[in-house]
């Protein structure tokens, strides 16, 4: 079988211990929460940390607090199954509960955390391969090499943001709290991401994501649609998160965020703007869906063809809007034969 490289495991019990361990070991150290992303990647030698600082033992990192009225705070160590099953979240922040519930498989959701999910490594099918495979094709710039195999000639890495919850959280206008050696800061989650397949997180190595803060639900409706080959296991190759606030049937606030079509969760700003002040008629939905598909610029480095992922972006945005508007979402129910 594929074996893990050797490493030392530091079982931190407090945030202070964890930050101290990170500071002590510098570049040799990495954080691990559920390990569902990191360990398989280590087996393929995408990461070779000599020290792993484990977050599982830190009590203060897990749990869901607050309410939809005042806002909900999720500890970064909360498992995805807890997030998916949480009543308050499922009712008032359905995009998040849905996205968390669609991550991978039940086993991995029981181990994987929301903190790990927002920090999950970007993916590319030239990169998520074994060491031997990558050596055979020629290492890429994301690890061990200096070229990009998807876009030769590119000076940047095009690995794909593959978190299900990230676009949902951006659409919900969530914030994240980070704790580092210099203290703590809280930023909008969109500010956590950078458009770069390698340096995809705008945080220092020493910073730990401790909490995810959801604003008061405040009549916002939301939904998340995920494109993948199979009903389980698969990472998204397109995620569409839509949140909207309606007054009567007029849209007063809208956020449309695309996952897995760029190195970061991509907001479709022109489409959002086109929704404001409008009713969710079929014509408006069609126009907005076309606009939203604009920023979807997938490359040929995931499952499915990239033109197909682009085409489906339009369809999914339209379906998400219909769901938000309470219209027949289409394509979901199946009639039974008489």
């Amino acid at each position: 079988m594929m074996r893990l490289p050797p490493f030392t495991y530091v079982a931190a019990r407090t945030l202070a211990e964890a930050t101290a361990a990170l500071a002590e070991h510098g570049h040799a150290a990495m954080l691990v929460a559920g390990g569902t992303d990191l360990y398989p990647n280590m087996k393929r030698r995408q990461f070779e940390p000599r020290v792993l600082v484990g977050l599982r033992g830190i009590r203060e990192l897990s749990g869901v607090r607050g309410s939809a009225r005042e806002g909900v705070t999720l500890g970064a160590g909360t498992t995805l199954s807890t997030v998916a099953a949480h009543r308050e979240i499922a009712t008032h922040y359905p995009a998040l509960a849905t996205a968390a519930g669609l991550v991978s498989s039940p086993q991995l959701r029981a181990m994987g955390t929301i903190g790990g999910n927002v920090c999950v490594d970007t993916r590319c099918n030239y990169y998520n391969q074994s060491f031997e495979w990558r050596r055979a094709i020629g290492f890429c710039m994301k690890k061990d090499g200096d070229t990009c195999l998807v876009a030769p000639g590119s000076t940047r890495c095009w690995a794909v943001s593959s978190s299900d919850t990230a676009p949902a959280l951006v659409s919900l206008d969530a914030r994240v709290r980070l704790v580092g050696p210099g203290g703590e800061r809280t930023v909008p989650i969109a500010a956590l991401y950078r458009d770069d397949g390698i340096e995809h997180l705008a945080k220092t190595r020493e910073e730990i994501v401790t909490d995810i803060l959801l604003p008061p639900a405040d009549e916002w409706r939301s939904t998340y649609l995920k494109l993948r080959r199979r009903g389980s296991f698969d990472f998204p190759v397109l995620g569409v998160a839509v949140a909207a606030r309606l007054e009567g049937d007029v849209v007063r606030g809208a956020r449309i965020v695309l996952g897995a079509v760029a190195s970061l969760p991509r907001s479709a700003e022109r489409a959002e703007a086109a929704l404001i002040g409008r009713r969710l008629t079929p014509e408006v939905i069609a126009t907005v869906a076309d606009l939203a598909a604009g920023p979807s610029k997938p490359l040929d480095n995931t499952d499915f063809t990239h033109p197909y992922r682009k085409k489906v972006t339009r369809v999914f945005v339209a379906r998400a809007l219909r769901a938000i508007g309470g219209l027949d979402a289409g394509g979901s129910a199946v009639e039974e034969v008489a």
């Binding site: 074994s130 080959r229 009903g231 197909y308 394509g331």
Partner: protein
């Protein structure tokens, strides 16, 4: 008359759990990778990163110097012999010496204290490569005859080229009211067994070698090892460890098996190797990608006047079973429908990719896909119902096909009737349904498959299967057979058959699977041969044992042996339950009378192959038949397909254990859905694109439809208690039925698998713009046709029911 027919069956026909079910679910089963022996070393192979390259030099010094490394070997440490599963394709080396032909070819092997150290050592082996141009498609291989992957074959980069003609196809087409020519492509796929290949070798202090391996063919591995390692076969023992799924992927002798033997010889330690999932993708031997051209003539009523099929197989880097695969793309199709005239041309092309070989259905799903989709198209043009059309043209029982196959019983007509009725086909067909973007459709297809190949891989006059039964004084019976249980339940089936004949419980039969020093030869778990061939041998051995017991009991009870029956754990007078002895006591009497009670059973298929060259291919004692209906919906906006229901009727001859047969049918449906909708073994920049279980898409339980299995029994005179195969045939209708249902749902033809959402959207787009609404191959490879071997069509000739079988004369008398 066989034992079961004298009275009702007691074990046969019961839905019993497999004998090893408990061990499997509790984790008790010890697979090869579970073995731990004292002082055991762990091995790893260094595999080629190049698709095609010369090896200038290999330097293992740095690897050997690594602490914890016991031995490092290259091809120079092995005798210079090439091997391969078929005598005509001896083209493999365990560790390549001069040239590698694919990414994943092994070039060196390390034995070390643990797997990590072995892996690290592999990375310290320095190989000086001289890369050669890689030929990654059939088109490239044919376009570059100057680059030769192998020196042998039927042309530059052509491994095998066959052409057979039975009757005058041109005349047949002239007679037809409708002649269709279609092209199809069937993408390659891999077996994906849960268990990755593993092996443990122990070259004992006594100079004898034992190899435990997850293999489907211990006998062929045994023969190959003797040749490759240049040691007497008499000093080699191959034990088939329980196999965690095979599907054809564990049918060849492999580099890792040979390497651990040699490493054990050099280190004096047992050596284990367990392949990674990625390596299993390189070992492969899976479904050949096949490009097909098929021309068929039909009358207005839907009769086939004749058929001409051409296939081009992308064979990959080595021969493997490829010669057989090539024939199988042509010779089995005629078994299902009346096809008076038939012509077949097939060519297998070498490419620098992992070798293809036998995957469930071996060579037949591809042409079956072509034929069944073409019939669907013809039915539409002729205004016929696709099910009714096929129902009229099923082959007659006990006749020959154009290409000289003998069809004994056929339950295909009943299969068609049963699925049509159970699914309410006509109703579903007539009323297209839609909900929003989701359009629903139904599709139909049939198939036929062999129950065991009529000839062995190497020519010989010996049995294909042997069984030895030994009765113990405790009342237990040991059944020794060279068959390997690969999850299909052959151990259980053998126990049921012996138990039925002897009137004891299956639990009292102890089946010893393949161990070449203990068990009589069985050729292996391939071509759906084990139930029939080992089964017939087991029945013969059990009847011989029972005869000896009857003799002893008859003497004791003072009745003629003919008055006795074996049932409910007793041997006694048929109608007098008082006059009976417990089985164990019967054994004691028998042993007192005859000495040790050990009896052999042997089986070889009936010799009725035609005498023309290639005439043995596709010959089988009998054929199974299946009919399938798929109900699915297609999302017109996303192209996504959801399969809702599958009705499948399978003519299994007799369901020895209906539970196991249903399991085989359901597994086939599962595999069929994978091949139809998503599985593809494809390459990019010379490398396998998706060598992991996450990225190589194969369906999960969530993609599974409701499966309605219907078993049809035809009681074939060739099979054990009338049984035919069930492990492969039911796969075949699924792919074409899905393609046909997609057409019914949204009116586009995807003439290739996998039928992906992307292709659906492309075809729909095309149709909206006034095009034909088809995605499929547009071009055929350039390869000069070969002069066919012309043979008279044997279509419709009556065929003998049961002909004389070697080794079974006494039973038939």
């Amino acid at each position: 008359m066989s034992a079961g027919e004298k009275h009702g069956f007691s074990v046969i026909g019961q839905p019993l759990p497999k004998l090893d079910a408990w061990a499997k679910v509790t984790g008790e089963t010890r697979y090869a990778d579970d073995m731990v022996l004292p002082r055991m070393a762990h091995a790893k192979l260094l595999r080629s990163p190049h698709a095609h390259a010369l090896i200038r030099r290999i330097d293992t010094a740095r690897a050997r110097a690594l602490p914890g490394v016991y031995a490092v070997i290259t091809g120079a440490d092995l005798p210079r012999v090439k091997f391969g599963i078929l005598p005509v394709s001896q083209d493999e080396e365990a560790l390549c010496t001069e040239r590698v032909r694919m990414v994943g070819d092994a070039v060196a092997a390390v034995a070390a204290v643990d797997e990590e150290t072995a892996e690290q050592a592999c990375r310290l082996i320095d190989v000086d490569w001289e890369p050669l141009p890689a030929l990654m498609s059939m088109e490239e291989s044919l376009a570059h005859p100057e680059i030769r992957i192998h020196e042998y074959g039927d042309g530059p980069n052509v491994h095998k080229h066959v052409a057979l003609q039975f009757g005058d196809v041109d005349a047949a087409f002239a007679r037809a009211d409708l002649v269709r020519e279609d092209t199809f492509y069937y993408e390659g796929s891999t077996h994906l067994p849960m268990e990755q290949h593993a092996a443990v070798a122990q070259w004992g202090a006594d100079g004898k070698l034992t190899l435990w391996s997850s293999t489907q063919t211990p006998h062929y591995v045994h023969r190959s090892l003797a040749k490759i390692l240049a040691v007497p076969g008499a000093h080699i023992r191959v034990v088939a460890a329980p196999v965690g799924g095979g599907f054809g992927g564990k049918l060849d002798p492999f580099a890792h098996e040979i390497a651990v033997c040699q490493l054990s010889r050099l280190t004096g330690r047992p050596v284990k190797i367990a392949l990674t999932r990625e390596e299993v993708f390189y070992v492969h031997r899976g479904r050949h990608p096949v490009l097909m051209w098929i021309k068929t003539g039909f009358t207005k009523r839907g009769d086939i006047t004749g058929c001409h099929l051409k296939t081009w197989l992308d064979g990959g880097a080595y021969g493997s079973y490829g010669v057989a695969s090539t024939f199988y793309t042509g010779v089995v199709n005629p078994a299902s429908y009346k096809m008076p005239v038939y012509k077949f041309e097939g060519a297998r092309i070498f490419t620098n990719k992992p070798p293809c070989g036998p995957k469930r259905g071996h060579g037949t799903p591809q042409p079956r896909f072509a034929l069944e989709v073409q019939i669907d198209k013809a039915a539409e043009e002729l205004g016929l119902d696709p099910a009714d059309m096929r129902r009229r043209i099923v082959t007659e029982p006990f006749t020959k096909t154009a290409n000289h196959l003998t069809v004994t019983t056929t339950g295909l007509a009943e299969c068609i009737d049963r699925v049509v009725e159970a699914s309410r086909w006509r109703e579903r067909r007539a009323r297209p349904r839609a909900r929003g973007a989701r359009k629903r459709g139904v599709g139909f297809a049939c198939s036929a498959y062999m129950t065991g190949a009529g000839t062995a891989i190497y020519w010989n006059a010996m049995p294909h299967s042997g069984v030895v039964l030994r009765a113990d004084r405790s009342g237990a019976v040991a059944l020794l057979c060279g068959a390997t249980d690969i999850g299909q339940g052959s151990d259980s089936t053998l126990a049921y058959l012996a138990a039925e004949v002897l009137g004891i419980a299956p639990k009292d039969v102890h089946v010893h699977p393949a161990d070449t020093t203990l068990t009589p030869v069985d050729l292996g778990s391939y071509s759906s041969r084990v139930t029939l061939m080992c089964g017939m041998a087991a029945i013969q051995a059990a009847e011989r044992l029972r005869g000896a017991l009857f003799e002893a009991v008859a003497k004791k009870l003072e009745v003629p042996p003919g008055a006795l029956v074996a049932r409910d754990g007793k041997i006694g007078v048929a109608d007098d339950r008082e006059k009976a002895l417990p089985f164990a006591q019967a054994v004691e009497l028998g042993e007192a009378m005859h000495g040790v009670l050990a009896f052999p059973g042997s089986y070889a298929p009936p010799k009725r192959a035609a005498t023309f060259r290639g005439g043995t291919m596709g010959q089988s004692p009998c054929y199974s038949f299946s009919a399938g209906i798929v109900d699915l919906s297609v999302d017109e906006e996303t192209g996504e397909i959801a399969v809702h229901d599958v009705w499948i009727a399978h003519d299994v001859g007799r369901a020895l254990n209906p539970l196991l047969v249903e399991g085989q049918v359901e597994g086939s449906v599962y595999m069929g859905i994978g091949e139809a909708l998503m599985e593809e073994q494809v390459f990019r920049k010379n490398l396998h694109k998706t060598p992991s279980m996450l990225d190589y898409k194969s369906p999960t339980a969530l993609e599974m439809p409701e499966i309605h299995t219907i078993l049809v029994e035809t009681d074939d005179p060739e099979g054990p208690f009338g049984a035919k195969e069930a492990g492969q045939g039911p796969l075949l209708p699924i792919m074409p039925a899905i393609a046909n249902a997609v057409y019914h749902a949204v009116g586009v033809r995807i003439d290739e698998v996998p039928i992906t959402p992307d292709k659906i959207l492309r075809a729909l787009d095309q149709k909206r713009r006034g095009g034909p609404g088809r995605v499929g191959p547009e071009k055929l490879p350039l390869l000069a046709p070969r002069e066919p071997l012309v043979v008279e069509s044997a279509f419709g000739q009556p065929a003998a029911a049961v002909v004389v079988r070697p080794f079974q004369t006494e039973r038939l008398a």
